[in-house]
Symmetry: D2
């Protein structure tokens, strides 16, 4: 339920307006020097209040490692990491159990957990819980880097602003942090910011597309059938609130291609087997080909909007209207970038361990 | 690896050109009257050689139940089901370990399993293994039906022929079996058949989109985080060879909608909570809303084509050309329909059991 | 690795001389009123320094609930519970990586984790980690009680003092807390205390036997084969440091009985099916019979003793001698009682949930 | 439920009087030359009807490999193995759902699965299902042998005949197959056979103790806490019907030893770390020390006896008497020896894989 992974296992806990957000990572190899600063950087990329196009909630999200690390090195014991919740304002959530917010988890969560469910700040369903993914993924990312597997994500589209060009991981790492929306091209960034600002002005919200690339994954990683790389990555991505779709490689465009166009021909380059194109996104038969792993996820427009909306009054079982007053992001895409990278890191590291490619003691 | 599910657990085995394709279902409630005919019908919808737009391989795919069922009723013990492989012709697969077929699992599988991997008829990577899903899913489907959860899938697109209309489950169940491509509209069916035939003539292949709908799932099913309905369904879908993308609800179109357009407003209808639209595809926060669960998957064009292709000779590490001679489908979409239904059934039944909604003894 | 259970899942973290000992419980039904005082009582029964026959380490072990509970009621979200480590003295553990303590985990842990392993206060291998079991088990115990399943354990033997009489759960609950060693009979308690005191005087240690009884478990609980009640309970018991054996029902005495003596004949009592004897310990075929579940575990003498011992110097690979100076218990049996109860509770609750006998929302 | 293991995963199916007994092994490394003869030998050691002190049921138990192996070499795909049931006589089992056999699973199984449960020949609860363990364990045993890990078990006690001497694995492998009861010492064997024969004459049954030794396991194998070697082995042992207890190393005798006697002092021998004694049975802190892993299991007297027994009539809820007429073993211990070896092999191989000590491709 709240545990993910097989050998590198991640268990999350905490709520948006509870004491903390936490994660236990079990199975991290012993002897790994942990750079807390790098994890903190990813937490900073994710945290609220970083600029004028994100939620005004102010949280420092300072990483605290509670176990499993001595003198900055992993001991092989489970690593517990937390951030505290400081800037909580639950006053706006009293009513959501009676008048559920459209396209929020309020109603299905009530159906599942009864009235006991904690919906303050959306509780367990808040995007805030993805900070746990970022902490765990931060470990995985560092370890993968030592194995020359590098991962980066960027904003490919926001509303009707779409960057149609293909980009490399190198470009992502060079440019995506240079603008507020974490896209590659500065001009496109401006248009995206405009789109978000316009939505914000209208008390509305927009979504977008995030593209993620992992380079350096050796060929032969991944398990067939139910533990294909695609199964594991998609499973991880849909644990991120607001993600509603995923495509690998050329994705939906595959539909209008012939097999002869879509197939990736093998070629020898520098005495290595590569493919001329990479329509498969680096994965065939659920297993890595050695080419970059590439996929995109759809992020829906933020459900929280300031506009008045139709909903129901569950106490009287009648239609009504509501206005959401909590703090929220007009577009969650830029803050979801480090989350996508984190979950991808967790999946790929776990599969590397499963393939016996990384020792249990470094 | 080859096991899926938590309480309703499916373990598959077998190879395309081995003795059989098999599955063990563990956790099927005791006391279920099993209609073998219904499972056989789904096997027939999936089996090769059913018509002129599918592979010429001739297999009857007769269901054999080997354990767990006495007098047609489940006993609570694991249910093993198999079909035999009869029409095997492995003569065409000798070379694939040296000159791997583009966009087939040959190369990554060699990287993973070494030269020991069985690639006759694509071995474990063949779509033939999805017959195991259909057998296990057949059980799940029947059990869900007793709980009034009904599932159906249809072909939404083949190559450039796209059925843009929305359809209900009722329409799917009424019309999708009336044409060879399993689509709703007869005129569109003809165009799709033309597209496939044209690809076939050119020794080429095409892909498409399958849309699946599940109705009757009560609100409150699904686990948050890593076992969201979307995580589980996507994980299941990507275990089907050739699936390269998935979108829930309105999917990729969400990108160009404002939150105020995308949000599904709640309404009271017949004293029940419904949503006016269903852009979420029946799932919010990973949990069912009570509205129909709806998603679409992308199926890439069949990798096996008759046309000459570029590839490499691994024994000499040089570029070469190849022609694939084995039997294959010019478009796998119509045969994948019952597979999508089966995997969806497995996921939803498992989540129903996990939610305690179905007793362990019927 | 550090996670246990299927639907009621327990993940532990922390080290003896780290910041804290913690546990995350995932799958606790929503709507459970949690009595923190009862959990604290069990922590108190387990905590060090409670009397003169336990280790002098002073820890208050105050329960802190960090997530998953609002206003004293479980929300369905994962419940994180911790106690802090206050009275740490790691000065005595510097040498154990060079001269490993006999029958402590020092040497095998070094072989497994390399020099990175945290052995301060025995780190992850310390009995202190069982506080996490007590916290998680405290939840399970309370929930089982609501279902009329009650669990109690007592000290059956310490060194050569053995209580040969059979006892009921009622007796355990009435008498076991009335003496320092948690045994039933006051005279036997005195002899046990003498045995421990004598060992303590000699800078030595003793072990013993703990017997545990669970009443009220309905017939038909437990899964066959690999998830038999015995498999699950034994697996749980051997996660408690120092446990080296387990027997169910009449246990080792079964060897010298004929089948006709050992078999438990069924009888009707008050229109219910019971067995005249309960040599099976309430479990046949891995499934509960409705009779009390009964088993005993062997606890070895504490490995930490003050006496000089032979060991090796790993830096020079030569024989040497050592004296252990850390704080320790001359007999761990009395403090292990609440731990045995806790792990039993976790197993039985999980199996009750798996059998669908407890709703997911209370 | 019917699946065991983490990376080397074993799923069993079949019933005593069904078509077959089968197992799927998932995760066997690719490239392993499989000696079917060795697996068949272990099946022969387990099979019924091997001599006058075992059940008269006649089964050849011929191993059939159905998948995952090509030309005698594992491909990395799941390996399905079966034996057929030939000599079935279900006529004697009609009544057991009304008058359950004492100390058989009949009653608890009815409570769990309702009247649907298959109790012909005890169905899923029959010792016959352990043939599946022997097939899967046969693979594991062979693979471990390549890694110089060797496993053997012998009969330590039958009824009141107890071999008090310690034995080495060498002795087990040399002598245990030289007599019908699989014990080391020929004189003791005769006494054991007498004890069994006497029980048989009296239409009664006896139990015993099996001791198992594994040599060659490197130090540092095993996971702490819930996946300790003891947790995994005990969990495996209690999946064998009739096992009611287990002790590691010196076991129950530990109770009457002081810590100073029980602790195993380290010594350097041939520049390797060993322990002078091995009271711990090769496992400390759940992890291997490099010394032989040693444990003993209690096997209860066979529940099936010819003598008249008290039981109940469930249809009328009144006391009654019964005589069991099916075929059965007066003592199951000798036939359980290969089963204990098999389950031990499965556990140790899985832990070796988990520790990354065996490559995924040989």
């Amino acid at each position: 339920m709240n545990t993910f992974g097989k050998l590198f296992r991640v268990t999350t806990f905490g709520e948006s307006h509870g004491k903390l957000i936490g994660v236990v990572v079990d199975g991290c190899p012993a002897g790994m020097e942990i750079d807390e600063k790098l994890i903190q950087e990813d937490l900073n990329r994710r945290r609220p209040g970083q600029n004028d196009i994100s939620t005004p909630r102010k949280e420092k999200d300072i990483l605290q490692i509670m176990s499993g690390v001595v003198n900055g090195v992993s001991t092989g014991a489970p690593i517990c990491m937390i951030i505290e919740n400081k800037d909580k304002d639950s006053s706006k959530y009293d009513g959501v159990k009676v008048t559920p917010r459209p396209s929020h988890a309020d109603f299905p969560a009530l159906m599942k957990y009864g009235n006991w469910v904690d919906l303050r700040g959306s509780g367990r369903f808040s995007g805030r819980n993805t900070a746990a993914f970022v902490m765990a993924g931060g470990l995985a990312k560092q370890l993968l880097k030592k194995e020359n597997v590098k991962i980066g994500a960027y904003t490919k589209a926001i509303y009707d602003v779409n960057d149609d060009q293909d980009h490399t991981l190198e470009e992502i790492l060079a440019f995506a942090e240079k603008n507020k929306v974490r896209t590659i091209n500065a001009q496109i960034a401006d248009k995206m910011i405009d789109a978000i600002s316009k939505a914000k002005e209208n008390e509305d919200s927009v979504g977008g597309i995030i593209t993620c690339i992992a380079e350096g994954l050796p060929a032969g990683i991944g398990e067939p059938m139910f533990e294909s790389i695609e199964s594991r990555i998609s499973s991880a991505m849909f644990s991120i609130p607001a993600v509603k779709g995923i495509e690998f490689g050329i994705g939906f465009k595959a539909i209008t291609m012939y097999g002869s166009e879509h197939n990736d021909p093998y070629v020898i380059e520098d005495n290595k087997v590569k493919t001329e194109t990479n329509n498969a996104g680096g994965i065939i038969g659920g297993i890595s080909t050695g080419m970059p792993v590439k996929f995109s996820v759809i992020v829906k427009p933020t459900a929280s909007i300031g506009k008045e909306q139709d909903t129901v009054d569950l106490s009287e079982m009648k239609d009504t209207k509501m206005k959401i007053e909590g703090r929220h992001d007009p577009c969650i895409v830029p803050r979801a970038i480090p989350v996508v990278e984190a979950m991808t890191s967790i999946v790929l590291l776990d599969l590397m361990l499963q393939a016996g490619k990384i020792p249990r003691v470094l």
